[in-house]
């Protein structure tokens, strides 16, 4: 995209005068648009290719589908609100916050119904956390398919979430002693539900109404969603309308038929909530090739649902030898973390990999290690080391190692 922008620019420049030294750019010798020309600001028109994208052949239609974040263009650890990946099961509802209610009931002393105004009166917290769909990368168990960072890994995004701790709301309603689980339910046409054990509910779950300083985007659950730090994206129920306390899990469709992991022996794992540590090099990548030999900053993202990223190592030779990358501040528990390593490319083909270690000591596995345990039919939780094949012409392909 940047390339095409510059080539168009070069054409115009040759017709008139250059916009770079010693020429004086047209925008320096004229006035720009005034304030509130765009009351809600938009990215530069030169960035119009930086968008969420979908894979048309992946789902039956777009109302129950996914879109992928353009990780190749993102900087820092915060995903801009308009680029946060989407996963809807029955389309994106348009909810009037004045009409929306959150009901909390079940095994509680005082069942309540909260307006969004009521909710925002409670003490709030603001925390930075990633959300990742457990099917991120799930197309690749049987082989390399997607030749793109965006489509391979773009079902992860990260934001600062503001809302009320679910523990605060639980204390407000008073959980009865037999209450052990909470069912979260959405107000969309899927009325999406997940059962969450009380231990997690009282630990760090947020009932969030804001994202990166503004109200949640409709795609992210406006006016209110659950944020379940480090857990499967699906548990972060959007358009939240109801929380029920019960003594057992509800065994809903999204925790039995879906979001369970089928093993090679035909048994399946359920309640695999935590997103294990994962990392990926975001530059270079298929969308961001190198342009000839020389010094490059290898950059990427790492994250773990179990806590902080402790270290990231980078290999240029398909995992034979590794070097420690630098972690860039801030390094936040259950948030995207940036890493970088300077590399002088000699112009020869290379196999680039990154490998994260999280604070529990867990080391990101190879795809072969994952497949040895889980086979190729488990769909979810593919957090294997990604291999990028850097070709002599600087292009980059998604490959898998034997």
């Amino acid at each position: 995209m940047v390339g095409s922008a510059f080539s168009g620019f070069a054409k115009r420049a040759s017709a008139a005068e250059t916009q770079y030294p010693p020429g004086i750019p047209a925008w320096t010798r004229s006035l720009g648009a005034g304030v509130v020309a765009d009351p809600y600001g938009m990215p530069s028109p030169f960035e119009k290719g930086v968008i969420r994208r979908n894979v048309p052949w992946l789902t039956a239609e777009k109302k129950s589908s996914v879109s992928f974040s353009p990780l190749q263009h993102l900087k820092g650890i915060i995903t801009p609100n308009g680029l946060f990946f989407e996963r809807h099961h029955a389309g994106r509802p348009e909810i009037d916050p004045q009409q929306h209610r959150l009901m909390i009931h079940g095994l509680v002393e005082r069942p309540i119904i909260l307006s969004m105004e009521d909710l925002q009166r409670f003490p709030s917290v603001s925390q930075i956390h990633f959300i990742e769909c457990p099917a991120n990368g799930g197309m690749e168990w049987r082989g390399a398919q997607m030749n793109s960072l965006q489509f391979l890994h773009g079902m992860v995004s990260c934001a600062q979430w503001t809302g009320v701790r679910l523990s605060t709301l639980m204390q407000e309603v008073g959980i009865r002693p037999e209450g052990k689980w909470v069912l979260a339910e959405g107000a969309d046409g899927a009325a999406m539900t997940r059962s969450i054990p009380l231990e997690k509910v009282m630990d760090d779950v947020i009932v969030a109404y804001a994202q990166n300083g503004e109200a949640l985007r409709p795609e992210q659950g406006y006016p209110v969603r659950l944020v379940v730090p480090g857990w499967e994206g699906n548990t972060n129920v959007k358009w939240l309308r109801r929380l029920e306390v019960g003594d057992k899990p509800w065994m809903q469709r999204e925790e039995t038929s879906k979001y369970t992991d089928l093993m090679p022996d035909g048994t399946a794992r359920g309640f695999t909530w935590i997103m294990d540590a994962k990392s990926v090099i975001t530059s270079p990548c298929p969308e961001m090739p190198l342009k000839g030999k020389g010094i490059y900053q290898i950059e990427g993202l790492a994250w773990s649902g179990r806590g902080r990223v402790k270290a990231v190592d980078i290999s240029m030779d398909g995992g034979r030898n590794w070097q420690k990358a630098q972690l860039q501040e801030p390094v936040i528990s259950k948030a995207l973390t940036r890493f970088a390593l300077e590399w002088n490319w000699d112009g020869k083909p290379a196999l680039l990999q990154s490998r994260v270690v999280d604070e529990t000591g867990y080391v990101q596995p190879t795809l072969a290690q994952l497949k040895a345990v889980r086979g190729t039919s488990s769909i979810y939780h593919k957090n294997a080391i990604q291999t990028w094949q850097l070709n002599a012409d600087g292009s980059v392909d998604n490959v898998q190692l034997g």
């Binding site: 995209m1 290719g49 968008i51 048309p56 052949w57 029955a90 009901m103 009931h105 069942p111 309540i112 119904i113 009521d118 409670f122 390399a144 398919q145 030749n147 965006q150 489509f151 204390q171 407000e172 309603v173 046409g189 899927a190 109801r242 509800w250 065994m251 809903q252 469709r253 039995t256 038929s257 369970t260 089928l262 035909g266 048994t267 399946a268 794992r269 359920g270 909530w273 294990d276 270290a311 398909g318 034979r320 030898n321 420690k324 196999l351 490998r355 270690v357 190879t366 290690q369 994952l370 345990v373 889980r374 039919s377 291999t387 094949q389 392909d397 998604n398 490959v399 898998q400 190692l401």
Partner: protein, 225 residues
């Protein structure tokens, strides 16, 4: 609700920030309600939204439906996506069949071969189906559809009538196929730094497979299958 909220806000303002005054007065708040925000949910309000059903049958309402009745409802609302016998259409899910395939290279996960609980079928049809008109079916229709889909999978006989008493007694073939304790971490990679392996071979590449939509320019609607 609003009179309750106002009664707390107004004295708090009069107290000029004295923190004790911002706490709700215990005379109106329940023992649990420290803040006292919102309104107490009535039984009727809860009943309107409390639609979840558990494997033990908790949450199942009155009503009933037979396999034959379910077939008619299925033909009207379901077969356009799921096929007349639950065989699926395109990328819309297959609902029946796949028995004994879970350990195969290409497993078929259907209601019959995979789903552990019959209650989930009632719950999901009721909350989210038909896809284009969720929560539009009557309880009798949902019971009938549940009976029909179970019958398509040979889990119940043709004379089965689903209701809140019979459905919890249906044992699904794969109920014991699930492990509900997460066994991860299930890999043990080591943080080796040098000479970690002898050979590196590329076994597969996504290059030239023509599966990847464009990642530049406008949205790519081209690759459909």
């Amino acid at each position: 609700m609003f009179s309750l909220v106002r009664s707390f806000r107004y004295p708090a303002g009069l107290c000029f920030g004295l923190w004790m005054c911002t706490l709700p007065m215990t005379a109106t708040a329940e023992s649990a309600g420290h803040y006292g925000y919102g309104e107490t949910a009535t039984k009727a309000q809860i009943a309107g939204w409390d639609i979840d059903v558990r494997p033990d049958g908790k949450g199942l309402p009155d009503g009933s439906g037979s396999v034959d009745e379910g077939m008619k409802v299925f033909e009207t609302y379901c077969s356009s996506c799921h096929g007349a016998f639950g065989e699926g259409m395109g990328r819309y899910p297959k609902l029946a069949g796949g028995d004994g395939t879970l350990a195969d290279d290409r497993p078929e996960k259907t209601v019959g071969s995979y789903w552990p609980y019959a209650s989930t079928l009632w719950d999901y049809i009721h909350r989210a189906m038909p896809f284009f008109a969720p929560q539009s079916l009557s309880n009798d229709q949902v019971y009938a559809l549940t009976a029909y889909v179970l019958n398509l999978n040979y889990i119940v006989d043709g004379d089965f009538v689903a209701n809140k008493d019979t459905l919890p007694t249906v044992k699904m073939p794969n109920e014991d196929g699930f492990i509900w304790q997460d066994p991860r971490p299930d890999t043990d990679n080591k943080r080796c730094m040098h000479a970690c392996k002898d050979n590196v071979t590329v076994s597969d590449s996504a290059a030239n497979k023509n599966l990847t939509p464009s990642t530049t320019g406008p949205l790519d609607e081209g690759l459909t299958e």
